[in-house]
Amino acid sequence: MLELRDVTAGYDRRAPVVRNATLTVAPGEAVGLLGPSGCGKSTLARVTALLHRPDSGHVVLDGAPVHRYRHRAPRAQRTAVGVVFQQPRLSADPRLRLTDLIAEPLRATGRRSSVPERVAELAGTVGLTPDLLTRRPHEVSDGQLQRACLARALVLRPRWLVCDEMTAMLDASTTAALVRAVEDYRTATGAGLLAVGHDRLLLNRWCDRTVHWDTVTPKRAPMPVRTPG
């Protein structure tokens, strides 16, 4: 299970972006999290991917509560979650060739020997041709770069995948191709998925169940509303 228990998180303790979010993803389940722009769903996705320490509340990964986040997270937990972000340009090191981009997690975890085999295998999974693998990010399109970012997220065979607006910048065909690649991986490995987005149609089609932001973060006492002027 991937569990978020009463998570409050943000960038200023006095004004958290996410308040008391609770959400559970079962193994093999695909959950869509739907919310408008700016509601805090990306912050929650970062917490889920262990990339942001919540102010309070817990993330529980397969029964083990997470105590440390970001680079302090234990490797076993850190590598159990793969993450794909909205903007491939901002999530790819511009100096790395796509093949190195995909192989980076393997090298970082001391699995250098499996690089050639895994990269070739994943390039096929996400639909990248061999000539693209030798290029750097500025030499490929957004769609091609996002394919590489998905391959990077899958390279350590994570049990959980977090896709934060993975397809918001992409055209319909690339969207369908990436969703298919994610689903093929999940069918093969039984990984669970948290797909965050604002496209109801897409998430309904993609996921087993779609939850709305308002049900994940139940309303408490109404916040004082500051009126301008």
Binding site: G38, G127, L132, A172, S173, T175, A176, L201, W206
Partner: protein, 348 residues
């Protein structure tokens, strides 16, 4: 606004030039924009040439919204940049793009800066938050644009003109004194739209105006853009968002690998009988509310396009005929379009 003209242009042009070509007889009015065989090549070191746009031909009629769709990297933003004279120095253009009598491709930078950008072509940018000047308030940017593009002079007059301009795009007056980073995506979009509308340009050019916005905001933005198209004003919108295109378009042009492969009415395209080019069909079928199936393969490199049909490698209808370049006949450039043409299709 990037299309802000140099300061000295202000005294020369108290009024935006009259929408010259569009006030002819209502029945057969000349198009606002007429693109004729526009091609753009980028020259790279080592003699490589990138064919970003090849032989684009289309008209935009007054009061019309033409939506140019295609996947990222197909050349559609390059086309927009070419129309505004904003291509980098290593680009070569050929063909023509007539805005009234003026050819945008051969007009010099002074002409483009002083009479075209903002005055005859309003640009609604991709990512408005990045397009606005970050260190100045929306009000000061509005007032500057009003002062540059219209004859309004004097502090009080500018202030009220800027407020009117903001109101026109539905930008709330109490947010005028904010900086761009204090605005949500939707409000930044409205600010950019308001700036684009100030010059009363007969052609609005919107380059991916809805990228990164959520569905409600996309619908809202697109509806507002539609509201600004009237009898004389036309909109050329570039997008990869088919849902937004369906909401606003009168006609749809589909671009693939730098070429327009299909140009047809929006009703035909999104309704029945549907698009006829296999690529257009594939794009539509990839939508989550249709079959959600991707088109196999990847688009070809613009630096090494095949001699024949660029889509043939991904097309399940490809035959030997596809090694030759398909001519653009009727609404579509394909050797075996689907479904079989009826007289109605040919009319489009």
């Amino acid at each position: 606004m990037t299309e802000r003209p140099p300061a000295r242009a202000a005294e020369a042009a108290p009024e935006p030039p009259a929408a010259s070509a569009v006030d002819a007889a209502p029945a057969e009015r000349p198009p606002v924009l007429s693109v004729r065989g526009l091609s753009v090549r980028f020259l790279l070191p080592g003699g490589r040439r990138i064919a970003a746009v090849t032989d684009a031909r289309f008209d935009v009629a007054p009061g019309e919204c033409l939506v140019l769709i295609g996947e990222s990297g197909c050349g559609k933003s390059v086309l927009a940049s070419a129309l505004l004279g904003l291509l980098p120095a290593n680009a070569q253009t050929s063909g023509g793009a007539l805005l009234g009598e003026l050819d945008l491709l051969t007009a010099g930078e002074p002409t483009l800066a002083r009479t075209v950008r903002g005055r005859r072509v309003g640009l609604i940018p991709q990512s408005p938050a990045a397009h606005l000047t970050p260190v100045r308030t929306i009000r000061s940017q509005m007032e500057e644009t009003v002062a540059q593009l219209t004859g309004v002079r004097g502090r009080a007059a500018l202030r009220s003109a800027a407020e009117r301009a903001a109101a026109r795009a539905g930008f709330p007056r109490d947010h005028l004194d904010r900086h761009p980073h204090e605005l949500s995506g939707g409000l930044a979009q409205r600010a950019a739209t308001a700036l684009a509308l100030i010059g009363d340009a007969p052609l609005l050019l919107a380059d991916e105006p809805t990228t990164g916005l959520d569905r409600d905001l996309v619908d809202h933005t697109v509806d507002e853009l539609r509201r600004h198209i009237d009898a004389d004003r036309a909109l050329l919108m570039i997008t990869h968002d088919l849902a937004a295109a369906e909401r606003i378009a009168d006609r749809v042009a589909v671009m693939y690998a730098g070429r327009i492969v299909e140009l047809t009415g929006a009703d035909t395209f999104f309704g029945s009988p549907g698009p006829r080019h296999p690529y257009s069909r594939g794009l539509l079928e990839a939508l989550p509310d249709r079959s959600f199936t991707p088109i196999p393969g990847l688009p070809p490199e613009l630096g090494g396009l095949p001699d024949g049909c660029a889509f043939a490698a991904r097309c399940d209808r490809a035959t030997d005929a596809c090694t030759a370049l398909p001519p653009f006949t009727g609404p579509v450039a394909c050797h075996h379009p689907l479904p079989a043409p009826t007289p109605e299709d040919l009319r489009a």
